[in-house]
Symmetry: C2
Subunit: 350 residues, 2 copies
């Protein structure tokens, strides 16, 4: 039989952060696509009455201040409230409900509805990072988990094109970070080194999946990526466990690499690239202290749905929901394609 070629031959890969496998079937990219296409994620002129704009009145009747940088306010339709009655103690192991307290905030990145991260200046992105850290510190004192995430694009359920993210803080540790906490702890106990520190060391040696690198950060397509152009942002130095551990130089370099990565994304299919992205670091809460989670490495995750073009996405449906995620190009192929995209000049400025 032929020799194994990852770009030709299906195989499964292990995601050690989640204790899960991914099916990689690169030969499948050859199939024609006649299914649903998305609306190209573009280019309505920005709505002068966008409710997230500086000075606009929101549906709650509240008026935004004339903010000039970032602006944070409580979500008008929060999935989590600070005070709710506790469900009764479960009387059967298969019917367990438990209390969930929390708070949901919206954070605007910029006063102008036509802006996006790749079009903002590094200084403006730095202000976003500073505010993320403020929020994490304030909410992290009370809550076990502070999920900062951005849904970008209508295809990702984002109902407003104004540049913004959400912050959902909760009294419980959600599934994804709970599993990542466990997997990183097990690795640390076994090998005496943080999983993602070891991983990044290897990736810097191998250079096969790195998309961008500066003095402080690496952007790469993880070996176990599920979404076609999924990437991770990993810090090279100092092993920060939470976003609040970042040094000034790490924050500045993060703003730079975020701008460059998002420029590449937009240039890949010449569209404002949709994604969900967010940050994972060690859990927070009243009993947590800086440095108490040496098994953790703080990192960012970008999960973009597009597969073939601005209008054809990957559907994570039947097989993926009921059995296992499946991808149609290798992570190395995705990294190659992203590496080829310009990271300095955005297609809108060409």
């Amino acid at each position: 039989m032929q020799e194994f070629e990852a770009t030709e031959h299906q195989h499964v890969r292990y995601n050690p952060l989640k204790d899960e496998w991914i099916l990689v079937s690169p030969h499948r990219c050859k199939r024609p696509w006649s299914g649903q296409t998305e609306q190209a994620p573009e280019e309505q002129p920005p709505d002068p009455n966008n409710p997230l704009r500086a000075g606009a009145v929101r549906s709650s009747g509240q008026r935004n201040p004339n903010y000039t940088s970032t602006y944070v306010f409580p979500n008008d339709f929060p999935a989590l409230l600070e005070r709710v009655p506790e469900p009764p103690t479960p009387d059967h192991p298969l019917f367990q409900a438990s209390q969930a307290k929390g708070t949901c905030r919206v954070m605007c990145f910029h006063p102008d509805s036509a802006m996006t991260i790749p079009l903002m200046s590094v200084t403006e992105i730095l202000a976003v990072i500073d505010e993320w850290i403020n929020q994490l510190q304030e909410l992290g004192r009370r809550y076990t988990w502070v999920q900062i995430f951005e849904n970008k694009g209508a295809v990702m359920g984002c109902s407003n094109p104004h540049p913004h993210c959400q912050i959902w803080a909760s009294s419980f540790l959600p599934n994804e970070p709970r599993v990542k906490d466990r997997c990183q702890k097990e690795f640390y106990t076994k090998y005496g080194k943080p999983l993602l520190v070891d991983y990044l060391d290897q990736e810097i040696k191998k250079k096969e999946r790195i998309v961008l690198q500066n003095s402080e950060w690496v952007a790469l397509v993880p070996y176990w990526a599920a979404w076609p152009y999924e990437t991770m942002l990993l810090p090279i130095n100092n092993r920060p466990q939470r976003m609040s551990d970042l040094s000034d130089s790490q924050k500045m370099a993060l703003a730079e690499i975020m701008k460059q990565l998002c420029t590449k994304y937009d240039n890949l299919f010449n569209c404002s690239f949709p994604y969900s992205m967010g940050w994972h670091g060690a859990p927070t809460g009243p009993s947590k202290k800086p440095g108490d989670a040496p098994h953790w490495l703080f990192h960012g995750i970008y999960l973009p749905p597009l597969l073939r073009s601005a209008t054809v996405k990957k559907f994570m449906v039947g097989y993926e929901m009921l059995a296992q995620p499946q991808r149609d190009l290798t992570p190395e192929q995705a990294a190659d394609k992203l590496r080829e995209c310009d990271h300095l000049v955005h297609y809108k400025n060409k």
Copy 2:
């Protein structure tokens, strides 16, 4: 403080089959929706040249026979092939690839492209069930897992409206059944009863989440449902571990309840209700024998994306991908709504 009301107060619920939690935020249904809407899943006249139709020529150049019931053929663009070279043995715990062999088939339910399960006769659906069992038996002799699943509707990535499902058989046990196998085994060891048998007993007593019931099957919204109108089909008698364990009376009653459940689904929003659905039972393979997995109960799963109407779906995005699934109505509310829908007369026949 007020007393706890599941329909008013957010809480988390435990999914014992997957060792995961779900955030239930029913108050959030009150928020207005201004985001992306889907095309109503309707009603092009069936394409007389649909490549899955009896007698049609597929893109591979092959001609379908003039089949009159079900028809199975190999997927022309399979994600899994029977013969592929093996990836090299991993030299690092964070870079593990492993061999994946398998086969992918397409199974048409009916010669007519305008048909769907709720419009088919019980006898025609019974032929589908019989063919599923044939496929499971044939492929299950060689493969560890045989995933039978249907992606229905363009919103679920289905590129062809002809009534059909897919069958992907693999040499590996995928994530979802692997976790379910473990959770059911742990429960069985601890309580001496299959998890889903105990669960169904409780649900039949409580009656809060049951949508349909006949002499052999219950259709219910699981206590831990993540998707708005997610349901499970559970067998009442004989504890079948795999689909191939079903008795004649169970097969006949399954055809009946599938037709009725899908009729309810279509009547909920007066549209051909999109979903991914599939079957889970004990793993297969050369060393497996009937009766060897007493911790398993064979069951069906329906995962429909629609939330508010034929055009507004639930987006499982940022928070859900990075933290935890979240739902906007309680499973009990979903069951109430489905119970109210007619299960005998389909809206197209009214």
